[in-house]
Subunit: 357 residues, 2 copies
């Protein structure tokens, strides 16, 4: 493997000194880029795009040709695992993902099994190919959904505004939901370890729907399974630690608990003040975030001012670690020039916060 030329992202995750605040954006390889839309059109469907390592590699690299991001993230989807479990994933234009065979009955749940990882070889092939093509430019992030988040999709069968089906099952038959979560955790662990083996230099667990749980349910139904995945992860690659990031959308209130799940960094959405967050956890992990993606619609001046506000909120870096990101995936409607302004402002403005520390 070629030498890594930019390790600012990896060092910030480990709370080591860095010259500036690194950044990447959730869904940076995505529909806001015309070249992505062009590749997707050639692929014919989202699933073809994600399942073909050449296409996945191509779209992963596209944003790095435009912007000076400090990390690449594998182009894939959190629903690859349930797809490999045989739930029949499809992406319906304008509606999002949908499963032909959601888990609704005890029988559905009892038949669920950890899938053969060979069915996910296309993901590992994509990781290996991207690593080769990146040629050490920046590190590559592998990822998976949290066991709870993919369980939401597996039971609901699609996105949901109220999570009524999985929560009905959780409150009436918690044993069934625990069985799904147990299998998801086993599958996710194997899946992430194979991504690391194929070349991923950091991994991120997206607990996108952890924040919909009640305070007294979050630990039992989401966090403990995330913790289980992390505790089994291979944490070294090329003689270097593989950092783990956990992002629970809407989980700011539970930061103290999330920060103890074994991750090196916690992602936060824009409802959290980063300075207060650091105090609450005493810089025990790095923080990733947390600009409102809608700032990117406010024009260059607002983009630069709000980026500075996030960096100021974090404050002098000291013993902390900060990776700049949005608090959610970038919108498909984002003008690419807003991203260029954001990257420039973060890289330029943040230098003063690092020289102080």
């Amino acid at each position: 493997m070629p030498e890594l030329k930019n390790d600012v992202f990896l060092r910030a995750l480990m709370r080591e000194p860095v010259p500036y605040t690194p950044l990447w954006l959730m869904r940076q390889a995505g529909r806001y880029l015309p070249e992505y839309r062009e590749t997707r059109a050639r692929a014919g469907s989202f699933l073809n795009l994600a399942q073909n390592p050449e296409y996945a590699c191509e779209v992963t690299l596209q944003p790095l040709r435009r912007f000076d991001f400090d990390a690449a993230i594998l182009f894939s989807d959190i629903l690859t695992i349930p797809h490999a479990m045989g739930l029949g994933l499809d992406f319906i234009t304008g509606e999002g993902p949908k499963f032909a065979h959601p888990l609704r009955t005890e029988d559905d749940v009892s038949k669920l099994q950890v899938p053969d990882m060979a069915k996910l070889q296309y993901v590992f092939d994509a990781v290996a190919l991207i690593r080769k093509e990146l040629d050490g430019k920046v590190p590559l992030i592998g990822f998976a959904g949290s066991p709870w988040t993919i369980a939401c999709y597996m039971v609901e069968g699609q996105g949901s505004s109220d999570y009524r089906l999985i929560k009905s099952m959780m409150y009436s038959r918690p044993d069934l939901v625990h069985r799904i979560l147990d299998i998801n955790a086993q599958a996710t662990l194997q899946y992430l370890n194979q991504q690391v083996e194929a070349g991923a230099q950091a991994v991120m667990i997206f607990d996108s729907w952890g924040g919909v749980l009640a305070d007294n349910m979050f630990d039992d139904f989401s966090l403990q399974y995330t913790r289980r995945v992390i505790s089994g992860l291979k944490r070294e690659r090329d003689g270097r630690k593989v950092p783990v990031i956990v992002f629970t959308k809407g989980g700011g209130q539970w930061l103290e608990r999330i920060a103890q799940c074994g991750a090196d960094a916690v992602g936060l959405d824009w409802t959290v003040n980063l300075g207060q967050a650091r105090q609450r956890i005493n810089d025990s992990v790095a923080l990733q975030g947390n600009l409102d993606p809608n700032v990117l619609f406010g024009g260059e001046e607002a983009v630069r001012a709000q980026a500075r506000s996030v960096i100021d909120d974090f404050g002098p870096v000291g013993n902390g670690g900060h990776v700049f990101n949005l608090g959610h995936g970038i919108s498909q409607f984002t003008p690419p020039e807003a991203v260029a302004a954001l990257v420039d402002e973060v890289h330029t403005y943040s230098r003063s916060k690092h020289s102080q520390s």
Copy 2:
């Protein structure tokens, strides 16, 4: 006006001693009740139902015939104000509210005016009629949306998953959004005062979308306008204080700030632990909430156990005040018998928490 027979709700809001924890449910007059669906079918549309005082009174009283709730809440909608402003409200089946003339340009915003309250007379007539028909059984809650929340609908034109339009305006032309909010606050103040004049014994402000704002935007674009409304409210009625409840969905992290906005009680969703919430604000206001509405799909045993869990989280009432509620409106799919079990458990189980205090 007849004497109020059950003032447990009003006293709990003022943190006065009560024999048990009072409860009511957001959207308790709603689609989960067959008799509501029957009345709505007769009315022909949601707007006809809300704009006809007889129908509004009828559906307001329906849940009180079935369940031993400690308060009634006016049947209406938070979008009556923008409707009176001429934005052209319609409720499309399966899609929710939609405005024919959303605010998108500087010109749209500059034409916006505080509506003549005479256009909302049907609401005040409904309040007066409900008070008469209630005959002192329980207090009547009046309500409005927060200036920010109705502004979201006025700019987006309908519900939204990302609030891209209003946030684009907020970040690029904050002056326009402040103008909308200023007018909304003036209108909301007049509207709530007239509800109190017509007979409302408590008022609630639904800041349903405050929680989508970034930490550094919430005070400026939502909370300060809510505070402005509250500071102008007539707070006495029939020689008794009219308590104010503010509910910011997703605002648990900002509880300390919200608790200082002048309200007597703060509503919380299910992501917050009530005991920790009390400590954070040192019982300076009462709390309302916060059962996950999906618990009502878990069967009677789960309903009772989770209701006890909320009451236990709050703890011995002491100098605090607790009004039991859901953390969001009741789902239209809820089995009414689950509500009956909830009411019974809250009333029965909570007595021990009050006798201890």
